[in-house]
């Protein structure tokens, strides 16, 4: 799906958008500092690890650690896409700090539980870094939309796994999942608020991009995390995440927050399809 011809490009010097994104960043940062900062070495109850949890839960923790470990790629490539917009670029820098704690906490858990050796984890890190994550979409608008769905999906999965960890009597892992989830939903809300601005500026184009991103959406670990399909199968079984959950807990809630109806989105898809057919016929 090509960008709508009427799409307003992201250009430096777009004063109104710069001002709004900066205000949004200030609010986000201030709230994060007041309510959400945590230390992965001091604020996690590692003494409450249940070293006897099932292997499947360890695989879940390790898989999250793997996905979060591509942070250097997420940050370097993601921040460059939004570079022209101070507020969103500075959000990305803060996002990087917050996300960095997720993998550290999970790594510490895996090591301190004794379920993974340091050698195994550093070997895994080396293997992970042999592959680079690439941007799934090329524009700032599409990547911001992607952030909405990806952060919401990650939040939902973390919340479900928190419940599993609690059921398995591992208060430490439950705490890590809870703190990570809290960060993810805050990230999702920022992205959603940016998309609301984009919808105000160019509703048709943004709707087409929302449809495009939803159609081509994949979680970031696909194709890069070793044994990803097998890991996801375990995560889905552990957390009971399937298509129904994606629609109920991710897709429709994001649309609702953006005040976009399913019918509007479908109309955007139809319009785009017609336009492509017309262009192909010319």
């Amino acid at each position: 799906m090509s960008p709508s011809p009427s799409a307003r490009p992201c250009v430096p010097g777009d004063t109104a958008r710069q001002a709004r994104l900066y205000e949004m960043y200030k609010t986000f940062f201030d709230k994060a500092e007041e309510e959400r900062r945590w230390n992965p070495f001091r604020d996690i109850p590692y003494e409450k690890i249940n070293a006897g949890v099932p292997d499947s839960l360890i695989v879940v923790a390790e898989t999250f650690c793997c996905v979060e470990s591509y942070l250097p790629d997420y940050v370097s490539k993601g921040i460059n896409v939004v570079r022209p917009y101070f507020g969103q670029a500075w959000f990305s820098a803060n996002w990087a700090y917050e996300e960095s704690k997720h993998s550290v906490a999970l790594l510490e858990y895996l090591l301190r539980s004794g379920r993974r050796t340091p050698e195994a984890m550093w070997d895994l890190q080396t293997r992970l870094m042999r592959v680079e994550w690439e941007l799934p979409f090329e524009t700032a608008r599409r990547m911001t939309i992607y952030g909405c769905f990806q952060e919401m999906a990650t939040f939902v999965i973390y919340v479900k796994q928190e419940q599993t960890a609690k059921t398995q009597g591992d208060e430490c892992l439950a705490t890590i999942f809870r703190l990570n989830a809290r960060d993810e939903i805050a990230h999702c809300r920022f992205y959603e608020d940016v998309v609301k601005v984009l919808l105000e500026e160019d509703r048709e184009g943004t709707l087409r991009d929302i449809a495009h991103v939803a159609k081509h959406f994949q979680m970031p670990g696909v194709g890069i995390v070793p044994d990803y399909d097998a890991r996801v199968k375990i995560m889905r079984e552990e957390g009971k995440v399937d298509r129904a959950v994606f629609l109920q807990k991710v897709f429709f809630p994001v649309l609702k927050y953006l005040e976009v109806t399913r019918q509007e989105l479908q109309q955007a898809v139809l319009s785009d399809r017609e336009e492509r057919r017309t262009h192909a016929a010319e």
Binding site: R243, L247, F252, R262, Q263
Partner: protein
């Protein structure tokens, strides 16, 4: 009001148009996932069937659709005289 066989035919034709391939051997028991149709594809198919049949299905019900039968049940329920909404 379209009969069940007709509804299945509408689904087959609509799915083929949207996903751009044929589904010759669909039965009501077929799981949507077996057809290789992703979540957004299914929503597009539902949207198209809504327009064709002049009905509107509630968003919360769409997440429960696992099989073709589930979808046709929802459509049939809405297509009946008491189920039609003003579209």
């Amino acid at each position: 009001m379209a009969g069940r066989t007709e509804l299945l035919g509408i689904f087959q034709k609509t799915a083929a148009e949207i996903v751009e391939r044929e589904f010759p051997n669909i039965s009501e028991k077929t799981a949507i996932s077996e057809l290789g149709i992703d979540s957004l594809g299914m929503l597009e198919i539902v949207g198209s069937m809504e327009r064709q049949l002049k009905i509107q299905l509630p968003d919360e019900a769409l997440a429960t659709i696992q099989t073709v039968e589930d979808l046709l049940n929802l459509v049939e329920k809405k297509s009946g005289p008491a189920g039609r909404s003003a579209v």
